[in-house]
Symmetry: C2
Subunit: 218 residues, 2 copies
DNA sequence: ACGGTGTACTATACACCGTACGTTATAGAG
DNA sequence: CTCTATAACGTACGGTGTATAGTACACCGT
């Protein structure tokens, strides 16, 4: 009975395999049995290192958040804010599963604190008081989360020919008398479901709002 | 063999039952077999009216979106935008499953068009050009989605004593030298994870940004 | 009144999931 | 060289969505 040798597994290896599977198979098709199989190991072997599936999810999320680059120094705070938001977005785009990991699981752990620390530090240094800094942080974070999750979902839908066809036909069958504006703006709506331009549009709105709320900064 | 009578089921009844189950059991604990049992019917009976589970999800989402109130007329466009965003948010708070239905499933169907029509109509009437109207619509929608999903998840976490304790201890164990700002702002961060004030803070930032981008309105 | 027909629901079955429990072989300590 | 802790295994249970086939009822034209 060829038993697999003794120390084939470790948490990092499992996390890496899990991440690969989520990205190739899609988050919903991901399963503990799948990652065990990919590691050439029985399903229960995972439980030596993780208490359950959610525990593994959290580990993957933490791993991904650790990849975020540090905040650039020596630029105006507006650009620092932009940089933080953009790098979170581009990490989510690179690893689409991150969107679901962030919005579907309770977050805890150091890595979440790291991104908060960066953004809050920028805001405090720019002169925001404690309350405004915290509120702004939450606002920016949830905007990035919402906008990018949406973009990822739209992109996924466009890739699935069946869903894409259904969406197109629904759009085209909309009564022009009942939904005049939607029909009129159909091309623009299709163009603004994602992309850097769309993301920056909303981000710049927020930053402009911040700027005028706190005009004595520079 | 006491067969259940012939026309006990209809789509609307199934949707209503599914919605009740999602709200009482939580979205993750929801199952086709559960709603079938609640209806006193075999699991496969659902398939007479819905092609599969996702199809039922879509129907529930459509049903909920239909509950959105119309846009108020005869007020400045800023207040109309606020009203639309707030009513979407309060619908999501009333039906927490809607957050997951919106961000986890491709959307299609008339009801999505209805909310888009309302918001786009307001923006066009306020003088936004086609492109800006579409971009603004997407920005506002994704902000509401992200902010409210986050709020719902935080509230759920606070309700689960196990997760809540873990989050508290993680927060308290953060090194004050590694995460000085987070530690310093802990009380503010705890206060700004949700609530009307937090939501309006971000919403007002966006509207302020819109206002200054388009100063010739009123 | 009656047999045929469509259909609303049932029964059975399959593949898969997460994971509780008990077992076993091996790596390292003594 | 033996002992022990533990990493990985096997088995099993209760759950899921759903494909496929079957069944009894409502309605229909005759």
């Amino acid at each position: 009975m060829a038993r697999t040798p003794r120390n084939t597994l470790n948490p990092e290896l499992i996390v890496r395999t899990a991440l690969e599977l989520m990205e190739s198979e899609g988050t919903s098709a991901f399963s503990l049995r799948g990652v065990a199989a990919a590691l050439g190991v029985g399903p229960m072997a995972i439980y030596t290192y993780f208490r359950n599936k959610d525990d593994l999810y959290d580990a993957v999320r933490n791993h991904l958040m650790g990849l975020l680059p540090p905040v650039p120094a020596d630029v105006p705070w507006q650009d620092q804010v932009r940089a933080v938001c953009r790098s979170l977005r581009s990490l989510m785009l690179q690893h689409p599963c991150l969107a679901q990991l962030l919005s579907g699981r309770p977050l805890s752990g150091q890595e979440t604190a790291r991104v908060a620390e960066g953004l809050l530090g920028v805001l405090r240094a720019a002169g925001f008081d404690k309350e405004r800094a915290a509120r702004t942080h939450t606002t920016l974070f949830t905007y990035v989360l919402g906008a990018t999750s949406w973009e990822i979902q739209m992109a996924a839908e466009r890739r699935d020919p069946e869903a894409w066809r259904r969406l197109r036909t629904t759009m085209e069958s909309l009564s022009a008398t009942e939904f005049p504006t939607v029909v009129d703006l159909a091309p623009e709506l299709a163009r603004t479901t994602g992309g850097d331009t769309q993301f920056d549009y909303g981000l710049d709105l927020l930053i402009a709002g911040l700027d005028m709320q706190k005009p004595r900064a520079t």
